[in-house]
């Protein structure tokens, strides 16, 4: 039924569309843009912004295109004077809730509000900003400026689907507000999905541009930058390139141009994570220790466990996330090698993620008393830093990341997509248990942006029961299944964000399944083209294991592993609006 094609007319044009689709979806599939604001392809249809109203020939009123299903022969009008006048007034009413701060907005050139205001000649100051005195809330690395919120509620839905239920809808009528929860049993997991689902930039991550600019000017410090696997497949978007453009070399060149002394690749650390995690998995299985083992690369997932499910802490792998792993290696191994006092090294980490800003602040993450990473910038923030410095990635000549922490395998790159950590670890665990590499390295059963994937992997005599979830609502499905059958799985990878890091809360806007697919595809393409695709064959990594760690298990544990602790509800700061 769903795939049945029906014929409709949109603005006099005959269009074939899939039965069951909304007018908005059918129009989009035919490349006809109907203005819409509160609609997001990831979310339920709420139909509350009333911008996407259209006419249907033969019907008196107007209908919201997002919530109206197409019917055979339906004739739709998406643009005329009546619709334009209605959209204009509704836009003006929306703008009256939204304090403009366009220069400092996550949407920048992609802002639909501004686009529609121009398109419909709306007066943005037709009404006074009724929320201009509304305070900003700050919780962890997230800032929610309510003077920009248009009450569309997208954040409330995504927060609930992310299992945090932290953003709450209160009161009614014009007194309706969205607020962080003061319930001690609820806390933010810092995934940042509210940011990427807010149509008007009311929520953003705490930015640190100023600090970076000042630090880069400090000649006494050695400035090191590291970038996460997924950045190479998404930062191009910030420079106006197509979704899924791979720009690793230009990214490195851009970072050097910014003034960083060294550019390292977190994919290299991902190879360490893979080797350690495969080792721990083999150990847990062979020694009949606590199973299933959960991955811990995703700090939002870890925060969820530490706050909501501390009973699962023993199931988290003790291996550090690639971000903190590389920071720790830079401030120990690399500092020693280069004979630099680690206190004089500043590590800036480019992450697709807002929770990574929180991960570096955890006391248990410190390495010899130092934070492994000094500053985290999201992909969006780096994009802005490039723009501010007039660095255009498109025009840069590709450069390579620096040795020795810039050399990585294909396994280290696919960490950026859901299933990537699992696939990399399976490749290495297979080798570890059988002494040879898998004949076909591509574990397609754990790939793809499907929310919840299961796989049984035959490794010698062992059948590994694996599960992969992306998006916390899918993680919840796994946790529910484990409550029924604790032995359902041996190894579970969880990424809090839809699609994994390529769909992270720090990634460029907009985002959708289509875009996430293209970003993931780019990473798998890199893996495919890499000569070395298994972590345990990374020559630099093996050399560091031999030369620096020299089988010293205590040292390995000290630098490459971490601990977890039950977390209490964190503070919510209220910042008054400046006049």
């Amino acid at each position: 039924m769903e795939s049945e094609q029906i014929e409709i007319m949109i603005d006099g044009r005959s269009v074939k569309a899939q039965a069951g689709k909304s007018i908005l979806e059918a129009a989009a599939a035919a490349n006809i843009e109907i203005p819409a604001l509160c609609h997001h392809p990831d979310l339920a249809v709420r139909a509350n912004c009333r911008i996407c109203v259209v006419e249907i020939v033969g019907e008196k009123g107007v209908v919201p295109a997002c919530a109206t299903k197409i019917r055979q022969g339906m004739q739709i009008i998406t643009d005329n004077d009546r619709l334009r006048a209605l959209r204009k007034t509704n836009l003006e009413l929306i703008m009256s809730q939204h304090r403009e701060e366009c220069a400092d907005c996550v949407w920048l050139a992609e802002c639909r509000l501004l686009k529609y205001v121009t398109q419909f000649k709306a007066k943005i100051d037709r009404f006074s900003d009724r929320k201009k005195k509304f305070a900003t809330y700050k919780f962890g690395p997230i800032e929610f400026d309510r003077s920009k919120c248009i009450d569309c509620r997208n954040c409330v839905e995504i927060c609930s689907r992310q299992q945090a239920n932290f953003l709450e809808l209160k009161n009614k009528g014009f007194r309706t507000v969205i607020e962080p929860s003061y319930d001690p049993k609820k806390d933010c997991i810092y995934c940042g999905q509210c940011i990427v689902h807010c149509p008007v930039g009311a929520i953003e991550a705490v930015g640190e541009f100023e600090e970076i600019r000042n630090l880069l000017a400090d000649k006494k410090k050695v400035m090191v930058v590291q970038f996460a696997p997924s950045i190479r497949a998404s930062i191009g978007e910030a420079a106006g390139m197509p979704y899924g453009s791979v720009v690793t070399g230009q990214l490195v060149a851009g970072l050097k141009k910014l003034g960083f002394n060294k550019v390292f690749d977190v994919s290299t650390a991902a190879d360490f994570t893979t080797i350690e995690e495969a080792e721990e998995l083999v150990d847990r299985i062979s020694q009949k220790k606590i199973l299933p083992m959960f991955t811990s690369c995703c700090p939002a997932w870890v925060k969820y466990v530490e706050f909501y499910r501390p009973d699962l802490i023993p199931n988290l792998t003790s291996v550090k996330s690639p971000q903190n792993m590389l920071g720790s290696l830079i401030k120990t191994y690399w500092a020693q090698k280069e004979k630099i006092d680690p206190r004089n090294i500043v590590v800036v980490s480019i992450m697709p993620c807002t929770a990574k800003k929180y991960e570096i602040e955890k006391p248990e993450a410190r390495i010899n008393g130092l934070k492994p990473i000094d500053t985290v910038l999201t992909t969006r923030e780096l994009g802005r830093l490039f723009r501010l410095n007039k660095i255009d990635l498109k025009s840069l000549k590709a450069e390579s990341a620096d040795d020795p922490l810039g050399v990585h395998t294909g396994a280290g790159v696919i960490y950026g997509a859901t299933g990537g950590v699992m696939e990399s670890a399976i490749r290495t665990a297979y080798w570890r248990l059988t002494g040879k590499n898998m004949a076909d390295l591509a574990c397609t059963s754990v790939r793809g942006i499907v929310g919840f994937k299961k796989a049984q992997v035959k490794i010698g005599d062992l059948t590994l029961k694996a599960a992969v979830a992306n998006g916390m609502e899918n993680a919840k499905l796994i946790l529910d299944e484990l409550a029924e059958d604790p032995k359902a799985y041996d190894y579970i990878e969880i990424m809090a964000c839809p699609g994994g890091c390529i769909g992270g809360g720090g990634q460029p806007l907009p985002v959708s399944d289509e875009i996430r697919k293209k970003r993931a595809q780019a990473l798998y393409q890199i893996d495919c083209e890499k000569e070395v695709r298994v972590a345990h064959e990374n020559p630099q990594v093996l050399k560091i294991y031999d030369d620096f760690f020299a089988k010293d298990q205590k040292k390995i544990h000290h630098i490459l592993h971490t601990r977890y602790k039950q977390k209490q509800k964190s503070r919510i700061a209220t910042i008054r609006q400046k006049d």
Partner: protein
């Protein structure tokens, strides 16, 4: 069969929308589903309308009979009497004893005006925020907890019982209030012109006047020259002395009511009502500006609430504002 009788009597819903009652009953009866609901809506949130409260006090047994008729016409159905808070407190004991032995429960509603809108009513009974649902699906297809659901106003059930006992003669109840000598609830023919209703009840003023018909907040303004038509919408007629009535004051009363009662879900209602209220509060009412807001309320609001706001404001501005100035 009761449904055939209702059809022959040509009864329409008395809540305000005037949907043919027999058709609604058939839709629920014929909808697939083991479990169904019959809901008697006694939210009566519209100002100036008190006829449901009147019937509840005077003839609760007839109302319950009407609900029971629906339960027997619709297989597998459970009944709910959905009462606004004060009605619940006042009448629960009597209603419970009248309903004893049948699958009828009482529900105490606490959310005000919007709680009477049928899909909001469903959300409220399900324990959710008091906000409307998108239609379709309509309640007869998928209503309470996804089951086919019949929702009728209390007065509708009253007339169904009267149809069953052969006593229905095409009347309805009118609440008459405002600048009149003889306010109250009256039973008169549903097709009488408004002027006749006022005359027969001893309420036709001798002075220049206008009325708000079909609800004390969402009803439309009718001039003396327009009273030769039957009443549409909710069963109320409020009479205003044209010389003595301050139009801004009247609109302010509406805007205050709507600003406190709207749910906040959609932009035109949440923000539009806020701006109408702001203009009236500041004494800076600008009819042209108001018209743009009224247009989005009328055409783009999510549920009938916004159209109700537009109904009263638009008719007042069109009919009285300009001549007033």
């Amino acid at each position: 069969m009761i449904i055939e009788k209702i059809k022959a009597a040509n009864l329409r819903g008395c809540g305000g929308a005037g949907f043919p009652t027999a058709l609604k009953w058939e839709m629920v009866r014929d909808a697939p589903g083991e479990k169904k609901y019959v809901i008697c809506n006694v939210s009566e949130g519209e100002p100036a309308v008190t006829k449901d409260g009147y019937l509840l006090a005077k003839h609760p047994e007839i109302v319950i009979d009407g609900v029971k008729l629906a339960l027997s016409a619709i297989k597998g159905s459970l009944g709910i009497i959905y009462l606004r808070k004060d009605y619940y407190k006042k009448h629960k004991t009597r209603l419970k004893s009248l309903a004893a032995g049948s699958p009828i429960e009482l529900f105490e509603e606490t959310c005000g005006y919007l709680g009477g809108e049928e899909t909001t009513l469903l959300e409220v009974i399900e324990g959710n925020r008091a906000e409307p649902r998108f239609k379709p699906p309509y309640p007869p297809q998928s209503g309470l907890r996804g089951c086919p659901t019949l929702i009728n106003n209390l007065e509708t059930f009253f007339w169904v019982a009267k149809i069953a006992s052969g006593e229905y003669i095409g009347n309805r109840f009118y609440t008459i209030c405002g600048d009149v000598k003889n306010p109250g609830v009256f039973e008169l023919n549903k097709d009488y012109p408004i002027v006749k209703i006022l005359r027969e009840t001893g309420n036709l003023p001798a002075f220049e006047f206008f009325v708000q018909a079909g609800g004390g907040a969402s009803g439309q303004i009718l001039l003396e020259s327009e009273l030769n038509q039957p009443l549409c919408g909710a069963g109320s007629i409020a009479v205003f002395d044209k010389k003595k009535t301050n139009l801004c004051g009247l609109m302010k009363k509406w805007s205050r009511f709507f600003i406190n009662e709207n749910c906040g879900k959609c932009v035109p209602c949440r923000e539009g009502v806020y701006r109408l209220d702001e203009m009236l509060k500041d004494g800076a009412f600008d009819a042209e500006s108001a018209k743009a807001i009224i247009a989005v309320l009328k055409e783009t609001s999510f549920c009938p609430f916004g159209r109700g706001v537009a109904n009263s404001f638009e008719s007042l501005i069109n009919k009285l504002w300009n001549q007033n100035k």
